[in-house]
């Protein structure tokens, strides 16, 4: 399975995502500069966290116009796996691959800590290695993770089981329905604020994030992988 990690000016979790793919899956992973638009060689695309374009104007907005996003949109249409983590999630909403928007944390402060999440949908390509309803511990680190959508969209997310992760216990940012991560209707584009790549080895304090990556590999093997 071949992974791509997109790099925008200001991305800073790109290297962490690359390491996570290497450490957890020992799979091939390629950094892709924001000016490339051909992603046809890859089976899965990771939009990493960070502060693309300094988070200026609105988080994710300036990156959403990069050439590489054309490639991401195409990959998404073709049913390839796309995951946006933190800033990557923000970019996916700005570009319209996921509904809603991420707004400033309700307490107006950046927040970094381990957070308990509930796996609300363990039947996605990104969560099939988790148990339905399982509680996991993964760090967050964001100032704008407050997920917002209107009531109609929320109802639809619920109806289609598109809410994948919620904050169990304290909601750190004021997001509607405690949403921490959502998936598109087709089920191949995931956005999440917590950082699974920061919880993959024992010394990191939790290994619960590793299964986001193993899930993707497993799904790919079962559905697309010839090898």
């Amino acid at each position: 399975m071949r992974f791509a990690v997109t790099i925008f000016p200001g991305s800073n979790c790109d290297i962490d995502c690359i390491h996570a793919v290497e450490d957890v899956l020992n799979a091939s992973v390629t950094p892709v500069w924001h000016q490339e638009s051909d992603l046809s060689r890859y089976d899965a695309i990771i939009l990493p966290g960070g502060f693309s374009y300094g988070d200026y104007l609105r988080t994710g907005v300036l990156a959403s116009f990069s050439p590489v996003m054309e490639g991401v949109k195409k990959a998404a249409r073709e049913g390839k796996l796309v995951i946006g983590i933190c800033n990557g999630f923000q970019i996916l909403t700005e570009v319209g691959l996921l509904p809603g928007a991420l707004r400033r944390n309700s307490r107006l402060k950046f927040r970094c800590n381990f957070q308990t999440l509930r796996v609300e949908n363990a039947r996605t390509p990104f969560t099939c290695d988790y148990e339905q309803g399982e509680l996991i511990s993964i760090p967050i680190a964001h100032g704008e993770g407050n997920y917002y959508c209107d009531d109609a969209t929320l109802a639809e997310l619920k109806r289609n089981n598109q809410i994948v992760f919620t904050y169990a216990g304290e909601n750190p940012n004021g997001s509607v329905s405690d949403i921490a991560g959502i998936i598109n209707r087709e089920g191949n584009v995931l956005g999440m604020m917590p950082h699974p790549e920061r919880a993959i080895l024992d010394w990191m304090g939790s290994k619960d994030g590793a299964r986001v990556f193993t899930s993707m590999l497993q799904y790919w093997k079962e559905n697309c992988g010839a090898a």
């Binding site: 309700s106 307490r107 107006l108 917002y148």
Partner: protein
Amino acid sequence: MFKATIYVTLKESVLDPQGVAVRGSLQTLGYEGVKDVRIGKKIEVILEGSSREEAEAQVKEFSEKVLSNPVTETFTYELEEVVSCASQ
């Protein structure tokens, strides 16, 4: 040369935590008459354009596509012609 001023504000239905925080601190500081605060952006763009129509079309387009997010925000703009402009 034109100067466009774009005001991007949150939709009525969207809570503005920053506005709420500012209202709170104004009230604690003794400005008890303050009932509501909403915070938006004021974006000034200097642009060249051969005509007012062309400039206006551009401003409308990039305000909608880039400067505001339709999920949470709305915008208005003003456009004026400016004679000379010092900025490079």
